[in-house]
Symmetry: C2
Subunit: 334 residues, 2 copies
């Protein structure tokens, strides 16, 4: 049985930063991102280097926003979708911070939040950074087809977010900040979905299981949370999630939002909405975090979801195992 960890010391998210591409900046929550890059190469020669620069820019800015020096950060928890998480490793190279590479595909943001909260709550570290990102053009090149081929996208597909998000988790609260109260690490689930263009469906059951376990372990109803925020299920995956949970007697219709549905004005090109590790990272660390800071919402269950495939596993006929890690984040009045 999965355990849900309770953090008694209120590890706080004292600052965040987000950097996104032009398409994300033009979307419905564009005004909430800290920085919008109007050229998705970000002045670099390759999209891979641009992805890395977005991530390192978000990391650097989040540390500045926390009014901390880089030398006050005890660890950087980061991962991304590129092979060997090189965006994170090369971003880490620019900081003199101990680096802990993490990877659970698009659930990396909540994985990093949960591990970071442990490091703070356990008394091991004072300040850690949790960050991730993705880039549409690097993901297309690596996972699907070169953009130059001009392949037509199927209607169940999602659009990988070009963007990065970073957050500073700290034991030192100088004010009232949202803090991480609980974490539930997910178990890998696999319901046999083999369509790499339909990851929302693959991930929906993983999200359903983790959300249900988390609520049961806390002994609360879904309405305990003002928002249950999934990572990047997209429109189709979100519908599946709600249907699956309803069958199990858990109704999240009223308080569920999905970062993949929030980030774009969904029209033909994006079909089901945003995806990628940068999707939940950029949406949570801007729009959702802002609502928590202003206490427009006070309790959020943040459930980033990951599809654990590679091109090799798909080519070898494997289905797509999925995972979802949940973190409870609250900002109650004292």
């Amino acid at each position: 049985m999965q355990k849900t960890i309770k953090f008694y010391s209120k590890p706080s998210i004292i600052a965040t930063s987000t950097v996104v591409g032009p398409k994300e900046g033009e979307g419905p929550i564009g005004k909430y991102f800290e920085r919008i890059v109007f050229d998705d190469t970000f002045g670099e020669k390759t999209f891979e280097k641009a992805e890395c620069k977005m991530l390192s820019t978000a990391i650097e800015q989040s540390i500045k926003n926390a009014e901390l020096g880089v030398d006050e950060i005890d660890a950087l928890l980061s991962g991304d979708l590129l092979n060997q998480i090189v965006s994170s490793s090369f971003a880490a190279r620019s900081f003199e911070i101990p680096y802990i590479g993490v990877y659970n595909a698009c659930s990396t943001m909540t994985e990093a939040f949960a591990l970071g909260a442990m490091m703070i709550d356990g008394g091991y570290f004072d300040n850690v950074v949790a960050a991730t990102g993705s880039h549409f053009s690097t993901a297309e090149r690596q996972y699907r087809y070169p953009l130059e081929l001009g392949c037509v996208r199927p209607p169940q597909s999602q659009w990988t977010v070009t963007g990065a998000g970073s957050a500073v988790i700290s034991s030192k609260r100088k004010g009232n900040f949202p803090h991480i109260t609980h974490a539930t690490f997910g178990i890998v689930s696999d319901f046999g979905v083999k369509d790499a263009n339909n990851m929302g469906a693959a991930m929906a059951t993983a999200a359903a299981s983790t959300i249900q376990t988390h609520l049961e372990n806390l002994g609360v109803k879904p309405n305990y949370y003002d928002l249950i925020v999934t990572g990047d299920l997209g429109a189709l995956g979100s519908r599946l999630l709600k249907d699956v949970l309803k069958e199990r007697g858990v109704n999240i219709d009223k308080n569920h939002v999905d970062c993949g549905e929030l980030i774009y004005n969904i029209d033909e090109a994006e079909y089901q909405g945003g995806s990628g590790a940068g999707c939940s990272a950029s949406v949570f660390n801007s729009y959702i975090y802002g609502k928590l800071i202003k206490r427009q919402i006070k309790r959020v269950l943040f459930v980033a979801t990951g599809a654990l495939l590679s091109t090799v596993t798909t080519q070898q006929g494997e289905s797509i195992p999925s995972i979802a890690h949940a973190v409870g984040i609250e900002n109650e009045e004292n």
Copy 2:
């Protein structure tokens, strides 16, 4: 400044398991491995599936060796060298255990040990598994050339270990087991090495920095440890490590061993010795762990080293950033 974490509660490594290929089984420490597979496909259709099966076999056996049920394991920390760490993710699919994907290339074993020790010492979990592995044929295919091409290997190259290692870290000691006393997470270093066939050189400086910081933070001399065990620097990298440390006034000549040097009868094909995440994982969790259990040695500093490259970064002209995480493991008389 890097912090060194001290674990007061003695998170113990209560069991391990290793599975290796035929070449590793024939090497100088072959008799210490728990299981030697005499066909490196392990009965699977592809080398990737074989790598995954070796890893899941080691995980399963380590849990059995700990006399625990799978349902008593609170988390599985695992990562590997394949794109999107799919060996770990697909191995995790076979267990109903919350899964936390980690990746720092060949330093993944000590990264997982350090995070696992935190989870136990912080009181969050009772039993966690830390595991990783690699496979010569999947690594060659992914990072270098298809085996069928028959490319000649340069003399500075190493041989990726076909093998996996798994360890159970627990808060529940029923006897005297080696326990994790300290952890120092590494900072990424990059001295401009661009030769992907010479990773020992790239990683040597990372190992030197982490070892030096760890010893300084503890206020001890190198001889505090009976053995300082690096991951997979190989013969050339080990010589570089010792030279670099000597220049800084730290002499580890007498108590340093490298898993990459231990695992093979080094002749022409392997040149500098073993490498890969499975190298330190299989050597530590068999030969070194056995010595600790028997108290032939009582204090080990285990420093797995990772080269954080991908084929894309190499193709784009990047140098090879490296990292090393250190964990102190001791088994003193009570």
